[in-house]
């Protein structure tokens, strides 16, 4: 009996031990690559126009957000299948793990037919390896695509005379600063105009019990740390204290944020005080990207960056269940010590790419589908769904049907193919007043544009070790914020960043910049 117990033990444990060992060697040999020359499609015009007589099977990989993707028999998928005689297979990958998924696919060199690249350095690395199809020679056959993206965005991150990916549009001001107006009113406070006033307000939100439950359980503002090692959600403060949005131009030279030690020290000192006073969310290091906003919706956070498209349809209804008198309004970025006001400003570097290995007929069919989604008709379709299923037309007005909410036909227009148009989330049946309210947020933020002059310039060293360097630099800043290291330690962190590869990144990025200008 003792023997049996032993045997049982060894078998059980050996099994797991071996399983552990085995997984180390898993990322082995992929199929031999397609060679390093980029796939080049047939010269324009020479190919016979595809007449859709052959049914093609296509795979598309889409990064998803809340709610996930569609089923294969979704009415929108069926519509495309019938219209273009294809069999579309979507792979819906959650946004948080999309880059991981791509790297796993890369290890075996097995990509879908169409997919997105969110990470600029991945794009530039794989572009050189010939993973993506050069669309330049054929793009002129698809006027809806050409006319609805900007030339600037099309050229960005591509070598001259090549187009390895279509730009995915992002509104420059998707994340706008917002504040709980009802909390301000309740505590008798003015809208803050400077970072000092901002601090006073945030502190009152923390200590003066704005939600009136008798407990000190609210915070002034919050932030989070991205997997790429950046502090996110406080761009308005970074800018106010003089930091650049990643890079700034000084006498024609690009200078990275990591060398702005004085600005970092000022910001870190501010945040350190906020952390000690409980004004800044103590859980910021544990937060996911949307948590500051979630906490705003959860009635515990008073100031957060939000997407105005979702404020009226999601945030306010959710929040008003907890606090019926709640009101979220836009807050202009507070002015820093030198008067700078800056808002979170996005330059989209996301690309939609086609697999270089695609056959000619597949290339055409896919581009036709994309072209359709950029057309007036297709844009209406991808934003609002199918008439009669997702909405109805009654005379001059439109009415949303219940199926719209359950089917979510609009997800391709928000997650994949977007026209260059800030109103991508305004629907046919939305009242003009609502549309105006949303668009007003974007317009109000416009004066505080805070651009990154080096967006899309990816140096080789950055691709290799940039993320690690940034993570270490941020970790040092975080230690200052939490009070475990003195403010001066930022000098050392900046030096370490430069020595660890930052010098090279500066040199290479400036070279890339000079090439383009």
């Amino acid at each position: 009996m003792k023997k049996i117990g032993m045997l049982l033990a060894s078998v059980l444990i050996m099994g797991t031990a071996l399983a552990g060992c085995g997984s180390d060697g898993n990322s082995n040999s992929g199929s031999a690559g397609s060679g390093s020359t980029g796939g080049s499609p047939a010269a324009s015009g020479s190919a016979a126009k595809d007449d859709h007589s052959k049914k093609l099977s296509l795979t598309m990989m889409v990064s998803t957000a809340a709610g996930g993707g569609w089923t294969d028999d979704h009415p929108m998928v069926k519509y495309l299948n019938d219209k273009f005689n294809v069999d579309l297979k979507f792979q819906w990958v959650p946004g948080d793990s999309y880059n991981e998924k791509l790297n796993v696919l890369a290890a075996s060199n097995d990509f879908p037919d169409v997919f997105q690249i969110w990470d600029a350095s991945t794009y530039s690395k794989w572009m050189k390896k010939g993973v993506f199809l050069d669309l330049k020679p054929i793009l002129s056959d698809y006027p809806n695509i050409v006319n609805n993206v900007t030339d600037e965005a099309l050229a960005m991150m591509n070598p001259k005379d090549k187009v390895y990916g279509l730009p995915m549009y992002a509104p420059a001001f998707r994340s706008n600063l917002s504040i709980r107006q009802d909390w301000l009113d309740k505590l008798g406070l003015k809208t803050p105009e400077t970072v000092d006033e901002f601090y006073q307000v945030a502190k009152a939100f923390t200590t003066e019990d704005p939600d009136g439950n008798g407990k000190q359980d609210t915070i002034g503002f919050s932030m989070s740390i991205s997997t790429a090692g950046e502090i996110i959600g406080i761009d308005y403060l970074k800018g106010a204290f003089g930091l650049a949005n990643a890079w700034k131009l000084e006498d024609g030279k690009l200078v990275p944020q990591q060398t702005q030690t004085e600005e970092w020290k000022a910001l870190a000192t501010y945040l350190r005080q906020a952390y000690a006073d409980g004004v800044l969310d103590k859980d910021f290091a544990v937060n996911k990207e949307r948590d500051p906003w979630n906490k705003l919706e959860g009635n515990t956070n008073g100031i957060a960056e939000v997407n105005p498209n979702e404020v009226y349809k999601q945030s306010l209804p959710v929040l008003q269940k907890l606090a019926p008198e709640a009101d979220i309004v836009q807050l202009a970025p507070p002015a820093g010590p030198t008067g700078i006001r800056a808002a979170n400003t996005i330059t989209s570097t996301t690309k939609i790419v086609l697999n270089a290995k695609l056959s000619e007929e597949k290339q055409q069919r896919i581009l036709e589908i994309i072209d359709y989604m950029f057309s007036d008709e297709g844009y209406l379709w991808s934003k609002n769904g199918i008439e009669g299923i997702h909405y109805e037309k009654n005379g001059d007005t439109y009415e949303k049907l219940d199926a719209f909410d359950s089917d979510r036909p609009q997800i391709l227009s928000t997650w994949f193919i977007r026209r260059f148009d800030p109103s991508i989330q305004i629907r046919l049946w939305d009242e003009q007043e609502y549309a105006d309210k949303v668009m007003a947020w974007f317009e109000n933020t416009e004066p505080y544009r805070w651009t990154n002059p080096a967006a899309g310039l990816i140096s080789e060293t950055y691709s290799k070790s940039g993320i690690q360097l940034d993570q270490k630099f941020t970790a040092a800043i975080v230690k200052v914020i939490t009070g475990s290291e003195p403010v001066e330690s930022i000098d050392a962190a900046s030096k370490a960043w430069l020595a660890g590869g930052g010098d090279k990144i500066i040199e290479e990025t400036n070279a890339l910049y000079a090439e383009l200008n």
Binding site: D24, G25, S27, N28, E100, N109
Partner: protein, 303 residues
């Protein structure tokens, strides 16, 4: 030995060999064949060039690892966590099994056993999720209680000082009940007459536990201990990754999370394979050493 004899034995053994075949194939295909992939640790593996065309770089990746400023931090954290596993977590199920063995009410014993091994079936995502609800600084249950009693908040999830205790605590909570099953099985096989004899000799319950139950477990403990040593470099990747954040990185960054960040997030397949290989090599050395030592001490060992 004449050859006909061998053939005869082969024929007689044929059904047995056939029985082994599926298992052997499994190990060959899924355990030994993939080991060929280790070769990419000595290449600059480029998925677009493929396994055959990637350039060979010898030991470059190992040099980079040992020269990395993070190497000692990773080694220290990895060893620290596995020592905690070895000396704090490992005895926990043994203790639990001994205690359960002493419980005389069958129903109580069954109930406790079930309750303690249930957490094993929860995934780490759920366990860490629960721990966030309990331990987070701003709205965690513990901190809310502290604040309502006029005390200061504690950064249980973010203060590096709490990472290691929390790591072991979660591990013990989740796995000790399950791990105790093996020990309970071994205890069930102890001849009851031994206990009777001990009582006759005047042993109390403490003494009989010390001199009957514990020696009965010795073999299993040694085997499990050796196997555990082989996993010294494994610290429970999922758990550590989920509990990791920018603030506790100094104590929570281990080889597994380093490999994940560089291999999966950045795509440095070769380098991370080298790190994985280094880890496995250490594990192998420890297993062989521990086994040799155990055999010298007259225990059975694992092979």
């Amino acid at each position: 030995m004449p050859s006909s004899d061998i053939r005869g034995r082969l024929r007689r053994g044929l059904p047995l060999y056939a029985l082994i075949l599926p298992g052997a194939l499994y190990f060959l295909l899924f355990r030994y064949l993939p080991m060929g992939g280790i070769a990419i640790a000595f290449q600059n593996y480029d998925p677009f060039e493929g396994f055959l065309h990637s350039p060979w770089v010898g030991l470059e990746h190992f040099r980079r690892l040992f020269g990395d400023s993070d190497f000692w931090l990773l080694l220290r954290n990895t060893l620290f966590l596995s020592m905690l596993n070895l000396f704090v977590f490992f005895p926990a199920p043994i203790l639990l099994a001994l205690l359960l063995n002493e419980a005389r009410i069958r129903l109580f014993r069954r109930a406790v056993q079930t309750v303690t091994y249930l957490p094993h079936f929860l995934s780490w995502v759920v366990v860490v999720g629960i721990s966030v609800l309990l331990f987070s600084t701003q709205d965690g249950a513990i901190n809310e209680w502290l604040v309502s009693h006029g005390k200061e908040r504690i950064g249980l999830l973010t203060d590096p000082a709490y990472f290691r205790p929390l790591y072991v605590l979660l591990n013990v909570w989740k796995e000790s009940g399950w791990s105790a099953i093996i020990f309970l099985a071994a205890l069930a096989s102890v001849d009851p007459t031994l206990y009777e004899a001990a009582v006759m000799d005047g042993a109390n319950r403490w003494k009989s536990m010390l001199h009957v139950s514990l020696p009965a477990l010795r073999g299993v403990i040694v085997v499990l201990f050796i196997l555990r040593l082989g996993q010294t470099m494994e610290t429970g990747f999922e758990q550590v990754l989920l509990m990791q954040n920018t603030m506790n990185l100094d104590v929570s960054d281990v080889f597994d999370t380093y490999v994940y960040r560089n291999g999966i997030l950045i795509g440095e397949y070769s380098y991370t394979t080298a790190v994985g290989l280094f880890k496995s090599a250490i594990g192998l050395v420890l297993i062989v050493a521990a086994n040799t030592w155990a055999k010298r001490k007259g225990e059975e060992g694992v092979y």
